[in-house]
């Protein structure tokens, strides 16, 4: 017999207290596009659902020290309509735009996409490439965690009991910066990534890459930050040999599964190809960015 309780607190402290003292299974409800599906298909039978959408700090997009702080429960639709954010982080927006249909984006959130901990989550590689920091609040206070530190395996996170991802901080954007996210799917829409690649680069005034971060999705149990791939671009003009080293580093980092969406060999091959294409798009955007 189902005995489910729904709570929608209006303060972060109340939400944390509810989750911290809950016995049994509890779930945070943001957009619900994963949690409600899991409930409907009996994958989970929670005793408590805590709706976090009435908590103001989870619903805001604000400037903070020259960067953006984006609430974890801001919907995909809201984010893709925020012009200043779209100008600063087109790659993150590319990833968010690929999360399901327009209907799904009306509800889905980056916080949920991260905490669902799918290795194929479309917004996560771009957030990791961006160097985004998740703010996590819990019974023991608040801690800031790089986005790559949240998921620890398919469906599993490093969050402790009572902890909630509150927001993401995207760092200030130096001039000549650009990011991109590309994914491989058999269909153009409504599909799950076979491989996803996020690339974020910053150039100096002469067009030399001063910083680069590369992240791969759907090729390992979690979305990966591939430092070797970023290092292959740093100090270069993202010319042919640098892109070749990037592709090799990306392919070398893959530890994919074989499944119906793609074989191991295919995913490894595509990771290199997509990394190269995403880097080219990030470069183009960096050259246009003032």
């Amino acid at each position: 017999m189902i005995s489910l309780k729904y709570e929608a607190p209006s303060s972060l402290g109340d939400a944390i207290a509810l989750l911290a003292r809950a016995s049994g299974t509890s779930r945070v409800l943001a957009g619900g596009t994963d949690v409600i599906v899991q409930m409907e298909t009996d994958l989970i039978e929670p005793d408590l659902v805590v709706d976090i959408k009435k908590i103001p700090e989870l619903r805001e997009i604000a400037m903070e020290n020259g960067g953006f702080r984006v609430g974890a429960a801001v919907t995909g639709m809201e984010l893709t309509h925020h012009q200043a954010f779209c100008n600063a982080w087109p790659g993150v927006v590319d990833g968010v735009k690929l999360i399901g249909s327009m209907q799904i984006k009306g509800r889905a959130t980056m916080g949920g996409n991260l905490c669902n901990a799918s290795p194929a989550a479309d917004s996560v590689p771009a957030l990791i490439a961006a160097g985004a920091i998740a703010r996590v609040a819990g019974p023991d206070g608040t801690r800031d965690v790089p986005v790559e530190g949240i998921a620890i395996g398919p469906g599993k996170t490093s969050l402790r009991k009572g902890e909630i991802v509150v927001s993401f901080l995207l760092p200030p954007r130096p001039p000549h910066s650009g990011d991109a996210y590309l994914r491989m799917t058999p269909r153009t829409e409504m599909d799950i990534a076979v491989v996803g690649v996020g690339v974020n680069v910053t150039l100096d005034a002469d067009g030399v890459c001063t910083a680069a971060r590369v992240s791969l999705g759907a090729v390992a149990p979690t979305v990966l930050l591939v430092e070797e791939a970023g290092a292959a671009l740093a100090g270069t003009r993202l010319d042919g040999p640098a892109l070749e080293r990037l592709a090799q580093a990306a392919a070398a980092a893959c530890r994919p599964i074989d499944d119906k969406r793609g074989t191991r060999e295919y995913r490894i091959k595509v990771a290199g190809v997509l990394a190269r294409r995403a880097a080219a798009l990030a470069l183009e955007r960096a050259r246009q960015h003032q």
């Binding site: 017999m1 189902i2 005995s3 489910l4 309780k5 729904y6 929608a8 409800l29 957009g31 619900g32 596009t33 409600i36 599906v37 409930m39 409907e40 298909t41 659902v49 709706d51 959408k53 919907t75 639709m77 399901g100 249909s101 327009m102 209907q103 799904i104 009306g106 509800r107 153009t188 829409e189 409504m190």
Partner: protein, 159 residues
């Protein structure tokens, strides 16, 4: 048994109150409590768009929203699209151009298409196809659906 939650909401401009269990979806309540059966259930997992409704001006899958979340919100369903006997231009266009075959996907597609034309009165065919990517038609009459939307858009622009 789960406890019941009291919800007050507005559907198509009318005020409604209902009691729901926390695991019930907005779709469950629309169809089974409010008897607004124009909204259809296809997959129940957010993939097909048959249950598309507007909530506070945003289109969503009503199978992926808990009924309790609708408290204080404004819901719009297919039942509110025609003004009395007068059909919306999209509805007329679907009738004239056979945009509807078995009809199960049609209410969701009409809601989604109206949301598109409200924000973009002159979409390209590609824009219509991408916007409606989350609305599946298993009769696969997509071509007529797209033509119906584009024809309605032309009429609404007065072109």
């Amino acid at each position: 048994m789960s406890r019941k939650y009291h919800v007050a909401t507005t559907v198509n401009g009318d005020e409604y109150e209902y009691l729901c269990e926390p695991q019930q979806t907005l779709l469950d309540i629309l169809r089974d409590e409010l008897m607004l059966t124009g909204t259809k259930e296809g997959c129940g997992t957010g993939d097909c768009g048959a249950c598309t409704v507007m909530v506070d001006g945003t289109m969503i899958c009503s199978c992926l929203m808990l009924a309790v979340e609708a408290d204080g919100r404004k819901v719009e369903t297919i039942e509110g699209m025609a003004k009395g006997e007068e059909l919306h231009p999209l509805q007329r266009s679907f009738l004239e151009l056979n945009g509807s075959q078995c009809g199960i996907c049609t209410p969701g597609i009409l809601i989604a298409a109206k949301a598109l034309l409200d924000r973009n009165p002159d979409p390209t065919e590609t824009e219509v196809r991408y916007w409606l990517a989350g609305n599946l038609c298993r009769c696969t009459g997509y071509d007529k659906i797209i033509r119906s939307v584009l024809a309605a858009a032309r009429e609404m622009r007065g072109a």
